[in-house]
């Protein structure tokens, strides 16, 4: 029997552009055309000023480590503990939950405010997850 798989997102009409973006290798955010507020998670209106005129744009993919836990138990299906569950702060402002790849999952290696860059992990033809790794250079 196959190992239980990690929880897989199911896009909705309001979030489809985000998941289309990750599949295409882009981290897409939204910006309000009226007040310039940049926000996440996706929705077709601005949560700051309620304008429905909003645009999707490609984010830089640059971020820093805001906070995290290193989960030991119980582990989520599809994960081998210990693994870090991180919240990263994008250069554009919004924060999002993610994981940190190419880095030991230890308090010594995971330093708050360390610079990160987006990486994409393909789960299947429809879903690619945004992940982050320590920024090069």
């Amino acid at each position: 029997m196959a190992e239980p798989a990690r929880a897989k997102p199911k896009p909705t009409p309001e979030t489809q552009h985000f998941w289309d973006g990750t599949a295409a290798g882009e981290l897409r955010l939204q910006r309000c055309d009226a007040c310039a507020h940049v926000y996440f998670p996706p929705r077709p209106f601005c949560p700051s000023c309620a304008s429905r005129k909003v645009s999707v744009f490609k984010a830089s993919g640059k971020a820093k480590l805001y906070s995290y836990v290193i989960n030991h138990r119980p582990a989520a299906p599809g994960f081998t503990p210990p693994y870090a569950i991180a919240v990263v702060e994008l250069d554009e402002g919004p924060r999002m939950m993610s994981n940190i790849l190419d880095c030991p999952q230890t308090p010594e290696a995971l330093v708050l405010d360390m610079k990160l860059e987006v990486a994409f992990e393909k789960l299947d033809d429809k879903i690619t997850l945004p992940q982050f790794r320590p920024a090069k250079g």
Binding site: R6, P9, T12, V69, N71, H72, I85, V87, M96
Partner: protein, 379 residues
């Protein structure tokens, strides 16, 4: 809402707390409710308002045989019962009903007749949190801790002291699940759950329930037990996604609900004799002390580590032992309220001498919601 217009006239927990393998979740509700109705010296037919969370009000009303004319099913996590108290007080004052029963119960350990909790993959949490390995509150609630510690200069030892001090309170309480003394070293060497938190910094998982009965203050003197008045209340919600909190340096929901209650009560922090801050995990009392305005966040860790909240300290906090040592069936807010009522009645196992004002602060979800109730035994 005006002060002291509504009072708690009945309060009780389930007959047993801890592991209760011979009762389903709905029967735990009924057990607590019947105990509270007996405590108030009432009949079932006297109850005309009902509030509960997770289980629906219609489920509990029908099971108990109550025919309500006022209903509240606010379900925002473990502080739902603080919100029920606030809503019930407003409803009684507005004349919508006379006598409200608020129930909580959860078969959190034995899992008998417990409704499943699930996160649909097309919900926002299912799309933007679940895929990254969150799995239950221990993997989510502590996510802000490292940022909070860095910003405010809080140490691992100070947060460990939260568990140590609450065990001191629990040792005085015959109904507490965990009573053996622990040290900071014990906490920091206990089993790792989700760094930076170890098992002694995470709440217990037990079965149990509790119920409250509220009525107007002018009727309250007719009841067998000392009435406990509602002096001030507050509530708020922020976000169901811990990753989307405005900041990890404080809780917006706490900062909204707490000051609302203090303002309504017309009291200052120095007036508080007894304090409950829902401690699902060990960082919550620090957030609570800071966000309710008792002191700057920078001082919260030292305040607890210096012993100010332990038995004999100047601000007795979580005097039943808290979610960390007393019990935690999943939605602990009801047990915090029960302890505040016991302290105001003067019957708590670890009674704070001459306590006249008790602040009871709850959290729902992972900082998703908050409710604050301020009680007094003086009208």
């Amino acid at each position: 809402m005006r002060r002291n217009q509504v009072a708690v006239v009945g309060a009780a927990e389930t007959t047993e707390l801890g592991i209760i393998p011979n009762m389903s979740q709905i029967q735990l509700h009924a057990d607590a409710a019947l105990n509270a109705i007996a405590d108030a010296g009432l009949k079932l037919s006297d109850i005309d308002g009902i509030a509960t969370a997770v289980e629906t009000p219609q489920q509990i009303a029908h099971y108990l045989g109550i025919k309500p004319t006022w209903v509240d099913g606010t379900s925002v996590g473990g502080c739902s019962f603080m919100l029920h108290v606030r809503h019930a007080a407003a409803a009684i004052e507005a004349g919508l009903c006379k006598t409200v029963l608020i129930t909580h119960a959860e078969s959190g350990k034995s899992m008998i007749g417990k409704l499943p909790r699930s996160t649909p993959p097309d919900s926002l949490n299912g799309q933007f949190e679940s895929p990254f390995g969150v799995f239950g509150p221990p993997s989510m609630f502590p996510i802000p801790v490292l940022r909070y510690m860095k910003t405010h200069g809080i140490t691992h030892e100070q947060i460990a002291m939260v568990a140590v001090v609450q065990r001191e309170w629990a040792a005085k309480n015959p109904r507490a699940t965990m009573k053996a003394p622990i040290t900071v070293e014990d906490v920091l060497n206990s089993k790792m759950i989700a760094y930076p938190f170890r098992i002694l910094q995470c709440c217990l998982v037990t079965d149990g329930g509790g119920a409250l009965i509220l009525t107007s203050a002018d009727r309250a003197k007719d009841f067998p037990n000392k009435p406990v008045y509602i002096l001030g209340t507050g509530e708020s919600v922020e976000t169901p996604m811990v990753s989307q909190m405005e900041t990890f340096n404080s809780s917006r929901a706490f900062k909204t609900a707490g000051p609302l209650a203090f303002k309504e009560a017309g009291i200052s922090h120095g007036d508080v004799d007894h304090l409950m801050i829902y401690d699902a995990f060990a960082h919550l009392p620090l957030f609570g002390l800071g966000d309710l305005g008792f002191m700057p966040h920078e001082e919260t860790g030292k305040f607890i580590a210096d012993g100010n909240t332990r038995p004999g300290g100047k601000l007795p906090l979580n005097t039943n032992g808290g979610g960390l040592s007393y019990m935690h069936s999943g939605m602990y807010g009801m047990y915090a309220l029960q302890e505040s009522v016991r302290q105001m009645r003067g019957i708590a196992p670890a009674q704070v001498k001459d306590a006249k004002i008790s602040v009871c602060h709850g959290v729902g979800g992972m900082f998703a919601a908050s409710g604050t109730i301020i009680f007094t035994n003086e009208k």
